[in-house]
Each structure stands twice: as structure tokens, then as C-alpha cells.
């Protein structure tokens, strides 16, 4: 096995999860024009819930691990959709198009949720046991079946979201409100409904990323903040609100993290990402794939 191939495979796999997570953040930004600082908490909640439910379900029914994971994942997503809708109605709806107010309230929400998670789940790291044990060789590198499954699911999800946004009426409505709210309102669209849909889908993407990563890494109640910092870097690099930007940015960040993390160390990798962002802001402040001129 060659180390560079291995690192590229790892980079693609982690990058694919970042893409799903950052797509949620950028979608919410698109329809509501706010940055959701509690986006990471949806990720954490889903990951921790799946990690807690899988052993319980297996003990109760004796299902194989992958089946228990699938059932728990779907149940968690349903729960997360409800939580997302409730939070939208009670908190987020009031702060649409109010970036500073939304920043403050979502930072508070993030702190509140983190405290509740560590009270409910405990601070001990949790992990889902491997779904399908074993590894296979791929282009000279080795990759575990779990990582392959997660990568495939993340790609399918991203493609599904792409299809939804580009080819369906609801997706068109979401894009219309993102691009020009006044024009969308003039066409008779109800932007409250569109914002609710955008927010719930965005939160579900965060939850999906959390559930997807649970079998390959340990999760703690505070892990959301690490992913959020990376998602910020991704959407600044790609351009806030840009879907292709989030996809490209996610893979760039995954790659840099994998390569710099191996040849240097993980902290230096994050510092390198920060330098990258500063460079992008200097040369192309609107992000590498954003078409909007500022």
C-alpha cells in the first residue's frame, strides 16, 4: 500500500461527510441569510442518539449490527425532523434575515444544547461498533468496508440533494427564495414555508452527517464545535450559500486535513486551513465558486 493513495482515500471519505454537513449550513444560510452556530449540535445529537440506541435495540431484538444501525438512524432522523421544526417555530423563525441576532441566539442555543447533551448522554465518548467488519484493498490503499459504505451514502445524499434542488418544484422554490426573496414573494410564494423546509432539510443534513460518522469515530457532547469550525472554513472557501462551493470546499478541507494531518499533525492542519481561508478572502472574497459579485 502506498501512503499517498491511502491518505487521498481517507481525505475523500472524511471530505464527503464534511460536504453533507456544510451543505446543511449553506442551505440554511441560503433561505434564511443567517449562520446557524448551533448547526453542530444537530450533528452531535444525531450521532450520540444513534450510538446510544444501537446497543439498546440489539439487546432487545438481537438484530445484526448493520440492521440495528439502519433502524436507529431512521428513527433518529424522524426525531430530528420534529426537533428541527419545533426549534424553527419557537426560535429560528424570529431571526430570519437578522444575522447578528441569529448569531447570538444560536450561540446561546449551542451552549444550552451542549450542556443538556452532557447531562443526558454523559461526557464519556460514544461510538457505534463496526457495521461490517473488515477492509478491502482499493487502488493500492486499504479502506474499511464501513468507510466505503459511509462514503457511498454521503455521495448518494449529495446527489439526491442536488437532484431535489435542481429538478423538483420544491427545490426550485428553495432556490428562488435564496436568490431573490422579493421576487419569490411577488410570484406568490410563501417564504415562511420555504424557510421551514430549508431549515429542516439543512438540520437533517447535519444530523445525517453525525449519524454517518458515528461508526468510524468517537463522539462527545462537545464534538459539534470542531465540525462547525471546519464547516465555516468550507463555506467561506466555497462561498456562503453556494451548493457547488460547499461540495468543492468540503473535499478540499478533507484532503488538506488528511495530508497535512499525516505529514505534519492535526493541529497544524487546522492552522493550515486558516491560512488557506485568509488567502481565499484576499484573492476572491466572494468564495471560489460563488457567482455573486460584491
Amino acid at each position: 500500500m502506498t501512503i499517498p493513495t491511502q491518505l487521498i482515500i481517507n481525505g475523500l471519505q472524511i471530505g464527503a461527510v464534511y460536504v453533507v454537513f456544510a451543505l446543511g449550513l449553506t442551505l440554511i444560510f441560503g433561505v434564511m441569510k443567517i449562520i446557524n452556530f448551533s448547526h453542530g449540535e444537530f450533528f452531535t445529537l444525531a450521532g450520540l442518539a444513534v450510538a446510544m440506541l444501537v446497543p439498546l435495540l440489539r439487546a432487545a431484538t438481537g438484530l445484526p449490527n448493520w440492521a440495528a444501525y439502519a433502524v436507529c438512524f431512521v428513527a433518529t432522523l424522524l426525531l430530528m425532523a420534529v426537533i428541527g421544526a419545533v426549534l424553527f417555530k419557537t426560535v429560528f423563525a424570529r431571526f430570519a434575515r437578522d444575522p447578528v441576532g441569529a448569531l447570538i441566539v444560536t450561540l446561546g442555543l449551542s451552549m444550552l444544547l451542549q450542556s443538556l447533551f452532557s447531562w443526558f448522554f454523559g461526557n464519556a465518548p460514544r461510538k457505534v461498533p463496526p457495521l461490517v467488519p473488515g477492509t478491502m484493498s482499493l487502488l493500492g490503499g486499504r479502506v474499511s468496508y464501513d468507510r466505503l459504505i459511509i462514503f457511498a451514502l454521503a455521495i448518494i445524499l449529495t446527489a439526491g440533494l442536488w437532484y431535489f434542488l435542481q429538478r423538483t418544484r420544491s427545490g426550485l422554490a428553495l432556490r428562488a427564495v435564496s436568490e431573490d426573496r422579493e421576487a419569490a414573494l411577488l410570484q406568490g410564494m410563501d417564504d415562511r414555508h420555504v424557510m421551514l423546509a430549508g431549515f429542516v432539510i439543512g438540520s437533517l443534513l447535519s444530523a445525517l452527517a453525525g449519524g454517518l460518522i458515528a461508526p468510524t469515530t468517537v463522539l462527545t457532547p462537545l464534538v459539534g464545535a470542531d465540525y462547525l469550525t471546519k464547516a465555516f472554513i468550507i463555506i467561506i472557501v466555497g462561498g456562503t450559500g453556494s451548493i457547488p462551493g460547499a461540495i468543492v470546499g468540503g473535499f478540499i478541507v478533507g484532503m488538506i486535513e488528511s495530508l497535512a494531518g499525516f505529514y505534519l499533525d492535526s493541529t497544524t492542519a487546522l492552522i493550515a486551513l486558516f491560512v488557506l481561508v485568509s488567502a481565499v478572502l484576499l484573492v476572491r472574497p466572494q468564495g471560489i465558486l460563488s457567482r455573486v459579485a460584491r
Binding site: G108, M111, W119, T268
Partner: protein, 308 residues
């Protein structure tokens, strides 16, 4: 009593109480709490100054840390006395903010708060990586060479408050408020928006650097964990809960929330739970903070006074 007079009297009373505690009370715990509050007031005021121009500067945590590490390094490595060390820490934080602001303030809106959040986290990571700065365990033995250091911290906090109120009410202060209202309008009268914002960031960072330098000397021990993103988030909570529309709001928010946090920690609960819930509830039900509540009470009292 006019609104301004009432709030400044309140701030003056708090200042005198804090100074008296530092000079007269022998219990080191109370003095430590007062110093911690004063430093948080400085941080909250620094953050608020940037809020006036409409930008959320979560980088104050990073510049606070930069000031602390600079002052700490000067004292521990070179044996520089406390006052010049504080001056150097303040200056380094201010100078470091200039290239950062030059890069990040050219685009308006959400970029700045995202990248300033990242700056605070990255600076914290840099400290953990640096052997000269003590890595994860930080620096010890940052002992001030002057007596009554807590009282000095309180006096410096008072001076910072006065300078920032002066800036806010000067011509410059009117320009930055105008930018928060409408950037296009300010640009139309020929004032450079990015340069004005950069000036705001410089003031905000000097204030944060001053707070950090004094924090290092007051605490005598610093570690990277002291300067994570929770630091500016707490400061933001103080400003919002106190009320943003008057400079005394930041002071009130800090004092009330610090006392509450001490009580909550005493009960064995997490202060993040209290702060999180307080921020969300304030934003939902009391968006103008304590100042908003007191404004209403004052207005009622005044109208009753005139009716008589």
C-alpha cells in the same frame, strides 16, 4: 433623573464598590471575583465597540489571549516590570489586529464573524503547539511587581470605560453608528467604510489586549484553554443580557451574570447551561436587555414626575 445620569451614577457606584472591595476586604476570594468581573467588563466593552459598527468581533477572545501571552512572556522570560509588560501586551494585540482586519473587513457581513471565530480557535491551537509558550500546560509565575494589583485592574477598567464612552460620543462614534445604519450612505459622503471599521477593530483589540495582559498578571498562570471561543461568547452574552444600547449595559450584564455564575457553580451545575438559557431567553423575550427594562421603568417614573 435623566437616563444618562442614572446609568452613569449606577456605573460609578459599582466602580467605587469594586475599588473598596479590592482595597479593604481581606478575603482573597472576593478580590479574585472582582478582578475577574473587571476583566470581563473590559472584554465585553471591547466586543461592544465593534458591535456599534455592526460587526460581531469574536476575535476579542484571540486578542485577549495574545495580550495575556505577550505580557506573560515579557514577565517570565525577560523579567520586565508589570506596567510595561501590560503596555506591550496591549500594543501587540492592537498591531496584530491590523493585518487581520485588513484582510477580513473588506467584505461586509457574516464573513467577519465567522473568520474572527476561527481566529480565536486557531490562536488557541497555536499556543498549544508552541514550546516557548509552554504548550498545553501554559505559563506559570507571571507575578506583578507592584502592590495592590487588583485595585489597579479596577482603575484601568474604569479608565477604559471612560475612553470608550468618549470615543462613542465623539464625531468618530457618530460615523461608526452611521455605518451600522447604512454603509452606502457613509460611503456616499466620502468616508472609507473599511478604514473606519479597521479603526474600530484596532480600538476593540487594544481593549481586549489590555484585558488579557492584566488577566495574565492577575491570574499569574495562563493556559491555552483560557482563551477558547467560549470567552468571546460569554462576553457577547454579557453585552446582550445587559443591553446593547447604553455602554453601562455591558457592565451590568457582566456583574449580574458573573454573580449568577458563581452561585450556579456553587450549586454544582454548569455555567454554560445558565449562560445558554439566559442568552436564548433574553433574545426571545427581552431583546433590549436590562437596559431596555430599566428604560421602561425610568420612562414611567419620569412621566409620573411631570404629571405631578
Amino acid at each position: 433623573m435623566s437616563r444618562d445620569k442614572f446609568y452613569f451614577t449606577l456605573a460609578g457606584a459599582l466602580f467605587i464598590a469594586a475599588l473598596a472591595t479590592c482595597l479593604l476586604v481581606r478575603n482573597p476570594y472576593f478580590v479574585q471575583v472582582i478582578v475577574w468581573m473587571a476583566l470581563n467588563v473590559i472584554l465585553a466593552l471591547g466586543l461592544r465597540f465593534m458591535l456599534l459598527v455592526g460587526e460581531v468581533n469574536l476575535g476579542v477572545g484571540g486578542f485577549f489571549g495574545l495580550g495575556a501571552y505577550t505580557a506573560g512572556f515579557c514577565v517570565v522570560q525577560y523579567g520586565i516590570p508589570a506596567l510595561p509588560a501590560i503596555a506591550l501586551g496591549t500594543l501587540v494585540a492592537g498591531l496584530a489586529s491590523l493585518p487581520f482586519g485588513y484582510i477580513t473587513l473588506r467584505v461586509s457581513g457574516h464573513y467577519f464573524m465567522l473568520i474572527s471565530f476561527a481566529l480565536t480557535e486557531v490562536l488557541r491551537l497555536v499556543y498549544t503547539q508552541s514550546k516557548t509558550l509552554g504548550g498545553n500546560s501554559g505559563m506559570v509565575g507571571i507575578i506583578p511587581n507592584i502592590p495592590a494589583f487588583p485595585a489597579l485592574v479596577v482603575v484601568m477598567t474604569g479608565l477604559t470605560f471612560l475612553v470608550l464612552v468618549y470615543c462613542e460620543r465623539s464625531h468618530f462614534g457618530r460615523v461608526i453608528r452611521a455605518i451600522a445604519d447604512s454603509e452606502a450612505m457613509v460611503r456616499a459622503v466620502g468616508i472609507s467604510v473599511p478604514n473606519t471599521k479597521l479603526m474600530c477593530l484596532l480600538i476593540s483589540s487594544l481593549v481586549a489586549g489590555l484585558g488579557g495582559s492584566m488577566f495574565a498578571l492577575a491570574n499569574t498562570v495562563i493556559a491555552p484553554g483560557d482563551f477558547g471561543f467560549l470567552l468571546p461568547v460569554f462576553a457577547l452574552a454579557y453585552v446582550k443580557i445587559g443591553g446593547q444600547s447604553h455602554p453601562v449595559g455591558a457592565v451590568l450584564g457582566t456583574v449580574v451574570m458573573s454573580v449568577l455564575a458563581q452561585l450556579v457553580i456553587g450549586l454544582g451545575a454548569q455555567d454554560t447551561l445558565l449562560f445558554g438559557a439566559a442568552i436564548v431567553l433574553t433574545m426571545l423575550f427581552m431583546p433590549e436587555g436590562f437596559i431596555g427594562l430599566m428604560d421602561r421603568v425610568l420612562a414611567r417614573a419620569n412621566s409620573r414626575g411631570t404629571a405631578r
